[in-house]
């Protein structure tokens, strides 16, 4: 589903060139739940941003569903983000003076869906995250965990094929973090591919695949860890592994 070939990213200033990512080769299959780990500044978020087409890369290739994203127009990239990719951020990134409903509606509007279809999808997403009763609340009226669930609802309302989560539990206490992780697992079991940046080894372990980045390079030993599909991982969880 996602294929990165010799992908590199360099940040340049007048004096310094920083190689954020070097010759990344990565294959992520449909339905995988992969954790991206690594020390701060190793390039995890940069990789996630490139996967989400929020950032350009300097060399190599990125293919999504067999098609290179290189050279796509702004409109095509926007459509790709809107239809295929869902984002979950550490800081939730909800618009504070929009109701929960309006926040979730935002990406659906950009897709040009009719009112009835938007409503149906928002209702479904809110049911999934258990916040349907609070659809008219403002984000500030919800706890951190609830806000992240709203952000997840916004990400999945468009039924994307990939969820990119950048430390989704970074701002949550352990109980809420666990609830969010369970929600992500539930979404993954429905077939959605998830790539999640995390610092938490426990959460990385819960993901089926563990990809480690150090100094902008994939760590080989972790890269070739056997990939677990949603089914395999569900079995592992059931067995208490």
């Amino acid at each position: 589903m996602i294929t990165l070939t010799n992908l590199s990213k360099i940040f340049r200033t007048e004096l310094i060139e920083t190689h954020a990512l070097r010759d990344i080769n990565l294959q992520v299959n449909e339905g995988e739940f992969a954790a991206l780990t690594g020390p701060s500044g190793s390039g995890k978020s940069t990789l996630l941003n490139i996967l989400g087409t929020l950032e350009n890369f300097d060399s190599g290739d990125y293919q999504l569903d067999g098609k290179s994203v290189k050279g796509l127009s702004d409109a095509a990239l926007s459509r790709l983000r809107n239809e295929k990719i869902g984002f979950i951020f550490q800081s939730f990134n909800l618009i504070k003076d929009f109701s929960i409903y309006d926040n979730i509606e935002l990406p659906l509007r950009y897709r040009g869906l009719k009112v009835a279809e938007r409503k149906q999808r928002i209702d479904n997403a809110l049911e999934l995250v258990g916040l349907h009763a609070r659809r008219n609340y403002l984000p500030g009226q919800l706890s951190g965990g609830q806000q992240q669930r709203v952000a997840i609802a916004r990400a999945i309302a468009g039924e994307p094929r990939i969820l990119l989560a950048d430390e989704p539990t970074g701002n949550l206490d352990s109980l809420m973090a666990r609830q969010v992780m369970e929600l992500l697992e539930q979404i993954n079991q429905r077939g959605c591919t998830i790539l999640m940046v995390t610092h938490d080894p426990e959460q990385a372990r819960r993901a089926g695949r563990h990809i480690q980045i150090i100094d902008g390079q994939l760590h080989d030993s972790m890269l070739y860890q056997p990939m677990a599909t949603a089914t395999v991982r569900a079995q592992a969880v059931a067995q208490g592994v």
């Binding site: 978020s45 941003n49 989400g52 929020l54 950032e55 702004d74 409109a75 926007s78 459509r79 983000r81 809107n82 239809e83 984002f87 951020f89 550490q90 800081s91 990134n93 618009i95 003076d97 935002l106 990406p107 509007r109 950009y110 897709r111 040009g112 009112v115 916004r154 468009g158 950048d166």
Partner: protein, 435 residues
């Protein structure tokens, strides 16, 4: 439609988010636009063509016929004498021609001796005045010919002021000590700018209350209350009916309608022949300096441009530029504060085009507010300018085309103010604000 309404509701919501910076931006913009609109309004009225369908055919002839010899005097007088008018009227070439001057008097209803006479603005003129400048009649008609007659044509407002109604044809009005019959009532009419009176610097004055026949005015000794010149030793306060007609007394403006280039050429030739015959008769001692000036060139011809208004216009334009710059700076701050939200929207799939749609809705709402506020500022500024420059008092109205133009200008100004911030927002890095 749904998305359009959504864009406008977001624009309104943006105001609520930071009302103070927003209102400050609009206020600065409105001040600049208001000052600009007020001056543009005066500028428009003073420079627009009041008779676009026939202005090309209206001309002001002048000959350098002053009787005192002067070899270096190569500019004809601004106004003509009775004899000049008579000679220039004899060509038979123009399709219409009329001499005129402005005067003033006192009028009242006959028999109402207990009432104080009311001051009135007079225009002494000939029958073609009304066809030359397309003056519309409400009741009655223009004079049958240019002979002296005790008949007045009055404005609708004058009819209503004296009689309480507009149809007063056949009624009698006392002007000075003389009784006149009213033969016509004009529709509400004002020619702006009043180019036929530029020679007297009265382009922005109101039209007359009462129109008096040319020959009758000479019979009654009524003179111009603007430009008059006499170049001989006659006593024009005595027996004006004779002296005014025969003497070297200058007060008349004279307009002709020449509908084709051939008529213009023929009239120029007529003026040349007239001057030659006058010279031959010893009545044109000065150098030949004939002028035939089109009505649209008359302001420049008489150097009657209002330089104060030009200066005001320049200052208001510079002020608008300063306001645009400041409003743009405020707008940039406002947009930079929303950069995070723009980034988020882009991450969620909003294209640059869709983002521009949101920004345009923001611009449209801002333009509406700025237009209303700037019109209020403009109205206040025009009141101030009118009090400082009384000659501009009649130039302060707006017609629908002007309002639409001002709305367009407000929209463009708001877009200019938003353009740079909008580009920054649209092309900024997507991931920088999102964590």
């Amino acid at each position: 439609m749904d998305n359009l309404l959504h864009s406008f509701s977001l624009a309104v919501r943006n105001i609520k988010r930071a009302p103070l910076p927003y209102l400050l931006t609009i206020l600065i913009l409105s001040l600049g636009l208001g000052m600009f609109f007020s001056n543009a309004t005066l500028y428009y009225w003073l420079n627009h063509d009041p008779l676009p369908h026939k202005s090309h055919s209206l001309f002001y002839p002048q000959i350098n016929a002053t009787l005192q010899p002067c070899d270096t005097c190569t500019s004809p007088t601004r106004v003509l004498s009775y004899q000049d008018v008579k000679k220039l009227s004899s060509s038979g070439i123009p399709s219409a021609q009329a001499a005129m001057f402005q005067s003033a008097g006192y009028a009242r209803l006959p028999g109402k001796t207990d009432q104080s006479p009311t001051p009135v603005r007079l225009r002494v003129t000939q029958r073609d005045f009304f066809s030359l400048f397309d003056v519309p009649f409400l009741h009655g008609q223009r004079w049958a010919d240019n002979t002296a007659r005790r008949e007045l044509i009055v404005s609708k407002a004058t009819a209503e002021r004296f009689f309480g109604r507009s149809n007063v044809v056949g009624e009698t009005l006392q002007l000075g000590n003389e009784l006149f019959t009213i033969s016509g009532v004009l529709q509400d009419w004002d020619m702006l700018p009043r180019l036929y009176d530029v020679a007297n610097g009265l382009a922005s004055s109101q039209s007359a209350d009462i129109y008096l026949p040319w020959e009758t005015a000479y019979d009654l000794g009524i003179k111009s209350n603007t430009t008059t010149m006499s170049r001989d030793s006659r006593d024009y306060s005595e027996n004006f009916a004779v002296n005014g007609r025969e003497g070297d007394f200058y007060q008349a403006q004279f307009w002709v309608q020449l509908d084709s280039p051939e008529q213009v050429a023929a009239y120029q030739q007529f003026m040349q022949q007239l001057v030659q015959s006058e010279k031959a008769a010893g009545r044109h001692p000065r150098p030949e300096a004939n002028r035939l000036t089109n009505i649209l060139d008359i302001t420049a011809h008489f150097n009657a441009r209002n330089r104060q208004l030009d200066a005001f216009a320049l200052v208001s334009l510079l002020f608008l530029l300063v306001c645009l710059f400041n409003a743009s700076h405020l707008s940039l701050n406002r947009y930079l504060a929303s950069q995070y939200e723009f980034g988020l929207r882009r991450a969620l799939g909003c294209s640059r085009g869709q983002l521009q749609q949101l920004i345009l809705a923001d611009v449209a709402v801002s333009a509406c507010l700025a237009l209303v506020l700037s019109l209020a500022v403009a109205a206040a500024a025009m009141t101030l300018i009118s009090s400082l420059l009384p000659a501009t008092r009649n130039l302060t109205s707006w017609n629908p085309v002007m309002v639409i133009t001002m709305a367009g200008t407000a929209l463009i100004a708001c877009y200019l103010v938003t353009l740079y911030p909008a580009l920054r927002a649209s092309f900024g890095s997507l991931n920088r604000q999102l964590k």
